[in-house]
């Protein structure tokens, strides 16, 4: 049984749905830690008071917000908690939207929501979300921080995503990208055909993290004392003849 990370109640109108939340994702990246190159000893991160030049135990540390250069306002734990609000146990679904309208940039972290106690009311919310193909928007407090969330029906359970706020998202216009000449009809046509030739149904299983295995293999070879060959890849050519590159790509993909 996976461990739940949060217990609370989803409400819509006067209906209360008790739930448990679980992490939906886990990183499989190979982990490294810092060591001193000279002797291979582990590096420790120490908190030092530069004035006294000594290590400070955690209990002597407070949190300060810098209001101007070198001036801090100290907030205690309860005061930071005050900002989290009073809804630590409730996710009220205030609006329902078509989840397909939410741009991928807004999605942050994903959790699964399972039932807790009253399974029938959970089933009702699940079925109603499924039927309407809608997702409920609400707010969720976790570790003294409030998040915007969207709750939708997944394949078997409810899925909760935390969302970025609109002002946290950078827009394409902010980038001030220099515009090139308009592509020619021929270029557009060839690029479109190239896209079509590579079109597939999305199948997540088709993509494996091969680098992860390669890194583990590298570690094993190093552990055996093998010499690692640092042969670098050649840079790809950046030709200026776009039409020729497209044409060559198309004849290649057809063969």
């Amino acid at each position: 049984m996976p461990k739940s990370i949060w217990n609370g109640t989803v409400t819509f109108g006067m209906v209360n749905v008790p739930i448990k939340l679980y992490s939906a994702t886990e990183s499989k990246t190979v982990q490294f830690h810092e060591v001193h190159a000279k002797d291979g000893a582990k590096i420790e991160h120490k908190r030092i008071c530069p004035k006294e030049d000594r290590e400070v135990p955690y209990k002597e540390i407070v949190k300060g917000y810098e209001t101007s250069q070198g001036r801090y306002v100290v907030l205690d734990k309860d005061e930071i908690k005050a900002a989290a609000g009073d809804r630590g146990k409730v996710i009220n679904l205030s609006d329902f939207v078509d989840a397909a309208e939410i741009d991928p940039v807004f999605y942050e972290k994903t959790y699964y929501a399972g039932s807790r106690g009253d399974k029938d009311v959970f089933e009702l919310l699940y079925q109603a979300l499924r039927k309407t193909r809608r997702a409920g928007i609400g707010r969720f407090s976790f570790h003294d921080r409030e998040y915007l969330v969207v709750l939708r029906a997944g394949d078997e359970v409810l899925v909760l995503h935390t969302l970025r706020f609109h002002d946290e998202v950078v827009s394409g216009e902010d980038l001030e990208i220099k515009r090139a000449r308009k592509p020619s009809e021929k270029e557009i046509d060839m690029a479109g055909r190239l896209v079509d030739s590579l079109a597939e149904k999305f199948d997540p299983q088709a993509y494996e993290d091969t680098y992860r295995d390669a890194v583990l293999d590298l570690i094993e070879r190093k552990a055996k004392g093998e010499e690692i060959d640092l042969a670098a890849e050649e840079e790809p050519a950046h030709g200026d003849d776009l039409a020729a590159a497209l044409e060559a790509s198309l004849s290649g993909s057809r063969s």
Binding site: V15, A100, I177
Partner: protein, 292 residues
């Protein structure tokens, strides 16, 4: 201009576009410093060698992985040499419909911006932006950022190429051990719940939702800097399961119909404040919502 986190090529057939990766999210949170309580001096984090008990400069730090109780040190060059092409190139492997990708896979949003302003680079970049904008498709590829490989989706967004890193399928947990629902609801229950959801439906408008936490934290900081006392709100009690589900559904629907849409309990308004919990309306700044 945003800081480049990676430079390389986006490779599509035999077309190579030199690009730089920049983040598409900005951090607006209020950050705190750790201070020594006694003298309010900011704490410094120092890297110390556990053997010598001396501070270690960043140049002397190596990265190590534990294998069968043994520390194996690996350099950045060795990590890059493992799959050199992937650390420099995003090879487009396939195009898929964006709608088919479950949002559970999305990790972090970035933009790819053209590196340099040669006619060839800008032309190829624009061609990709326009081709994908027309087709509603996303390009899938893989690349290595720092020491991590990611599946990525590249698509056209607001005149630029947006890149979203994605999780691999084995990084998404199975759901089979999670407690699901119970018995099938009655038709009447479903119909009423559906009517409530439809009554509360609106178009997705991210601008409607403000980060209230950030705003409240700002108020707390301001109050504290003026030496005012900060009241910590009592946590709200978790609502109890309703004794009669059908009754709760019907009363909710009734209230939605009587009160009109802005009277719905706890709806978000433009000011980002939620309505009062007592079924009261928070009409201020309520935006007209489209019903679908």
């Amino acid at each position: 201009v945003a800081r480049a986190l990676w430079s390389g090529s986006l490779s599509f057939g035999l077309v190579n576009v030199p690009v730089q990766l920049v983040s598409a999210s900005r951090d607006l949170d209020y950050h705190f410093h750790q201070l020594h309580e006694k003298d309010k001096v900011p704490i410094e984090q120092r890297r110390v060698c556990s053997k010598e008990n001396e501070e270690v400069a960043w140049e002397e730090v190596a990265h190590s992985h534990e294998l069968d109780g043994k520390q194996v040190v690996v350099t950045d060059e060795e990590l890059a040499s493992v799959q050199p092409r992937k650390t420099r190139t995003i090879d487009v492997e396939a195009f898929v419909d964006l709608d088919e990708v479950d949002p559970i896979y999305f990790d972090h949003p970035y933009f790819l911006i053209p590196a340099g302003d040669s006619e060839g680079t800008l032309g190829a970049y624009r061609l990709l932006v326009e081709t994908m904008a027309d087709q509603g498709r996303v390009a899938l590829g893989r690349f290595v950022l720092r020491t991590k490989e990611s599946l990525v989706a590249v698509r056209s967004r607001e005149g630029a190429l947006a890149l979203t890193t994605m999780l691999f399928h084995d990084e998404v947990r199975p759901t089979n051990d999670i407690e699901g629902g119970g018995k099938k609801p009655s038709k009447k229950q479903i119909d009423t719940a559906v009517a409530i959801i439809e009554g509360l439906s609106t178009g997705w408008d991210p601008g409607r939702y403000q980060d209230c936490y950030r705003e409240r934290l700002k108020r707390v900081i301001d109050a504290k800097s003026k030496r005012k006392t900060i009241e910590v709100p009592k946590p709200e009690k978790e609502p109890k399961p309703v004794p009669d589900l059908m009754d709760a559904l019907e009363r909710t629907l009734e209230q939605l119909r009587d009160g009109g849409e802005s009277d719905a309990e706890g709806r978000e308004t433009n000011s980002g404040r939620r309505g009062s919990r007592s079924g009261g309306a928070s009409r201020s700044g309520g935006k007209t919502k489209s019903r679908s």
